[in-house]
Subunit: 329 residues, 2 copies
């Protein structure tokens, strides 16, 4: 299906009874699980954003990471969620002055260029377009819009991203499950499943993870895990086992504790690599900088608090790192 | 498409001008890359197989691992290759007395039962059917048919499988890329790719793997590896980089050497787990047993010989392990 994008009518556009002419901007946060678009009025420029933000409309759609669902589906999701947000705010395309799109899977200038081309098919040249990795939006969500400091995301995947005040940037990890994102939710859970297999076939020590994971998944034996893994390649399905690993670690299981400790080191290492390359800590390593921490792996713990352990690790090297856990990430 | 399997005509069957009535057996070795079927006459039972084997016909098809291509494609590949072998030998279904099918992806009794059901749809109840993991065929290929000892396969994937003379069996690894088959070709190459990403983003040491792998893949920068990995999830495509890792290790690269040394330990550990569980080495750990070694990772090396290193590791614990590298695996 070839969508009609740059004529009078945009295929995704809803009819709006009485469209306002109030100029608006669209902000999108696109992830592997869901994509959110907000529509806001243009505001006079100032350092501080109003709190609460004057959001005219908010729309939600599914995955917009092209690495996960392919380019066609990612593009349609992005267009659909923008059209929904515009419709809900009583606006249409002609009111849009700028689009800021932060989406996971933007790893290379060619990814950025591809999405800019999609957007330019819809919006004329005077509309300002910004396309970035979703880590950039996560950082901004913790610093009220200012791009300075470092953000660590650890959900299903993980990435560290940093900016200096003079506009330099750097990232670490965020390379996907094959390429060693070992502190991610996927990474933690895959190691836990591996530990179960290794205990079962005699390559590794006995672990409480075996009974707990098999019970959680409704399986009878460790060798059924092989078929379970193959049945659905979704990373999020594997990563959903992180709370089981945490509960086993809290109950004293050594294998689970080792997995979490290694994840903490991996996550801290990603932040350190970014801070070091950008010199965010200054020459004496003591400068203050914001460290925004986002994602289920850093949040959803009880006694075993992965986020706090990561922060402890980082603070030893960089005492000026100032942790921020944003309200909306 | 529903194939017509158990009537007079089998959809896969070719017309044979003058079918012989000589009774035959079919032997299949099904892997993730290719599937081979041979058709042989029934021979008088004896301990020793004739050399060369009296093969009437040999047919080759693609992947028959249902975990890789799905059940429908795996089933059709198996049927097609059997029909081809029968046709080439001038036989048809009615001449078949036994089918011995050794295929990768048979990890659980339910896998075995599913394939037995497929075969029983084609062959009547008096035909003997045997369905096993392909590691069993690999062992038999090194011991001239006798199921005793241990086999280590290390190609794109890896598995260790063992049998005692009284019929007990055990396996280790062979659980696929998510579940820690770390000494496999896929495992080695994925760690090498990870090392390139980590060197690039500041999490790991500089390595010769960067320039060598990027040149091999025709890429300009390490961050292009992310897109390259996502573009095609085939394990074999990743595993094809093993010779690059070996050449970097031979040229003295520390990161590549560390990856290969860890792979050697992982592969040796799989064998040791099987030997230990079956007691193949006897109470004093000195009993002699055959260790069949198969697959590209164990074969295709020059100065850095992974297979020899694995054997050295195993011999320290089990001096009676007798390495065999079969002609046809």
């Amino acid at each position: 299906m070839k969508r009609y994008r740059n004529g009078e009518i945009w295929d995704f556009e809803h009819e709006v009874a009485v469209a306002t002419n109030r100029p608006v901007i669209l902000g999108l946060d696109g992830g592997t699980t869901s994509t959110v678009c907000i529509c806001m009025p243009i505001m006079p420029f100032s350092d501080a954003l109003p709190d609460p933000l004057p959001v005219l409309a908010r729309a939600v759609a599914g995955c917009s990471n092209h690495n996960s669902v392919g380019e066609t589906a990612a593009r349609e999701t992005l267009e659909q969620v923008m059209a929904d947000a515009l419709s809900k705010s009583g606006s249409n395309r002609s009111a849009v002055r700028a689009v800021c799109l932060a989406v996971s899977g933007v790893n290379h200038p060619t990814d950025q260029q591809r999405i800019l081309t999609w957007l330019r098919d819809i919006f004329p040249t005077q509309v300002k377009l910004y396309v970035r990795n979703d880590a950039v939006a996560a950082l901004a969500s913790g610093t009220m819009g200012k791009l300075h400091g470092c953000v660590l995301i650890a959900g299903t995947g993980t990435i560290a991203y940093g900016f200096t005040e003079d506009g330099r940037e750097a990232r670490a990890a965020g390379a996907g499950p094959v390429l060693g994102d070992w502190g991610s939710g996927y990474g933690i859970a895959a190691l836990a499943l591996t530990a179960v297999i290794r205990a079962h076939d005699g390559r590794g020590p006995h672990t409480m993870l075996t009974s707990t994971i098999l019970q959680t998944l409704g399986l009878c034996s460790a060798d059924e895990l092989i078929g379970w893994t193959y049945a659905d390649p979704s990373w999020a399905r594997i990563a959903a086992l992180v709370p089981v690993v945490v509960s086993c670690a809290e109950a004293g299981d050594e294998v689970a504790n080792k997995i979490l400790k290694e994840a903490v080191q991996e996550l801290a290492l990603s932040v350190k690599a970014v801070v070091q390359r950008l010199g965010l800590c200054g020459a004496d390593r003591k400068n203050s900088f914001p460290l925004v921490m986002v994602g289920g792996v850093l949040e959803a713990n009880q006694r075993w608090d992965i986020g706090r352990e990561v922060m402890d690790f980082i603070s030893k090297d960089y005492p000026g790192a100032h942790p921020i856990r944003p309200k909306f990430a």
